[in-house]
Symmetry: C2
Subunit: 102 residues, 2 copies
DNA sequence: CCAGCATATCGAGATATCTCGATTTATGGA
DNA sequence: TCCATAAATCGAGATATCTCGATATGCTGG
């Protein structure tokens, strides 16, 4: 696995925060009516919590998606993002491997 | 532990390479006469291997030292750098903890 | 003390990242 | 169809990082 882009994606405190918040849906307001069964959190909620502009958060989520740390799912006009635990673990394994002596 | 600076230090392929090379002394030429017992590798050897300017490598080693990934030891006019395995492991543990779900 | 070598520090130009507001695209409702 | 809302994309200024050459510092041998 190439670590370059994943590490760059994590080299930002807000992006790391977002990944942290996404561990637990209850870090965000309850789903809107009609969204109850959907996994993940919409961009607007993430933006409200991060307190950065809409375009910045959209950009951040795009970066996190590019490196596989999150998965996006569109429902109507909303995009729901959630963590991809397997990809995150795979990265952590590769990262540990590259850094650890043996 | 604050992850900001350590992650930034690792957000560079040459700095990661250097940390990798330092896992094994045999990645570098044998010690000069008089340096046989000394742990670590001098800046010049690292520079030769990395193929970047002396000032860049000195800067890189300073960054890696600041975040604790390497230890510097001066012997005469040479500075010998070696990995601090405990610090690296401590960082990896904190990093895993921040990223993993539980 | 001086010359020479290893390393560190300084200053700067090139490049990349951050973050924004404005605009565009996509969707759903009246 | 028109409008409103959510999200993505675009373009740009501010800031940070990369990397260099030049210079400074520190050490050693003569």
């Amino acid at each position: 696995m190439d670590l370059e882009k994943p590490i760059a994606a994590l080299n930002n405190p807000v992006r790391r925060d977002i990944l942290g918040w996404l561990k637990d849906r209850s870090n965000f307001p309850p789903p809107l009516p009609g969204h109850e069964g959907i996994e993940g959190v919409c961009v607007g909620y993430i933006q409200d919590k991060a307190q950065l502009s809409q375009s910045t958060i959209s950009n951040y989520m795009g970066l996190l998606k590019q490196v596989g740390f999150v998965v996006a799912e569109r429902h109507g006009q909303w995009t729901f993002y959630r963590r991809d635990e397997a990809k995150i673990q795979a990265f952590l394994a590769a990262f540990n491997d590259e850094l650890s002596k043996r």
